[in-house]
Point group: C2
Chain length 111, copies 2
DNA sequence: TACAATAGTTCAAGATTACTGAAGTTTAAG
DNA sequence: CTTAAACTTCAGTAATCTTGAACTATTGTA
């Protein structure tokens, strides 16, 4: 596997019907990832570094990958940065009430 | 660590305020465990073997342990078997709408 | 045009966690 | 006392997580 090809490859996102509850719940079971999603619920476009500057870049990238492959966020390259958006309506259609319940719950910080 | 002491030790359950969203979401992210919970939503007392006879006993025990330590189920020994109950009202109070949303969602089988 | 800076990604390796076969325990029944 | 049923624990392997180091791609800047 080659760096050039790997970096040139655009992000892949699951189609809405392929978003699995397994992956969504797993993605949301991590507090760092919930924090990223919570921030995206407020401001709807955000680079990775805005999302969580406190962690090392490889960790941030890893968490975004999990969220992206679970179908929770959409990522696109915009110049040097990656802009992420929450796939809110798709998630709400497929799993009604789930995001609301998770982010209403205690255990997700509200600064 | 000794078998005798370990087996004699009763099950420990987290108190309601100590039930964490991390652990609950992680517990529910596995389809086998969701299946156990779903069955407990219907009939409110169930042994481990009733819950999932298809899997090896060590696996069933493992999944029940995860659910128990997450605070989703309560287990008590009744003779030779272990009876499990869903901590439904406690979970609903702490995380309103979460169980409903998860079990309304596609991805959890409804036989 | 070259050089450096920025914002990530990928890889690798150690650390943690998950799964399950084999062996053990406890209770109940014969 | 022996056997069976229903789990649990242990141990070893498999899969995931985390993060430093190296890399890429884009965007200034000299």
């Amino acid at each position: 596997m080659d760096y050039v090809k790997a970096m040139a490859r655009p992000f892949t996102h699951p189609a809405a019907p392929d978003i699995s509850l397994d992956n969504v719940l797993h993605a949301l079971s991590d507090p760092v990832r919930r924090e990223i999603v919570r921030k995206l619920m407020g401001s709807d476009r955000m680079s990775c570094i805005q999302a969580c500057a406190a962690h090392p870049p490889s960790t941030v990238s890893f968490h975004h990958k999990i969220l992206r492959e679970a179908g929770l966020i959409r990522s696109e390259k915009k110049g040097v940065e990656v802009i992420n958006t929450l796939r809110r309506t798709e998630i709400d259609q497929r799993f009604p009430g789930l995001l609301d319940a998770v982010f209403r719950a205690p255990g997700t910080s509200h600064p």
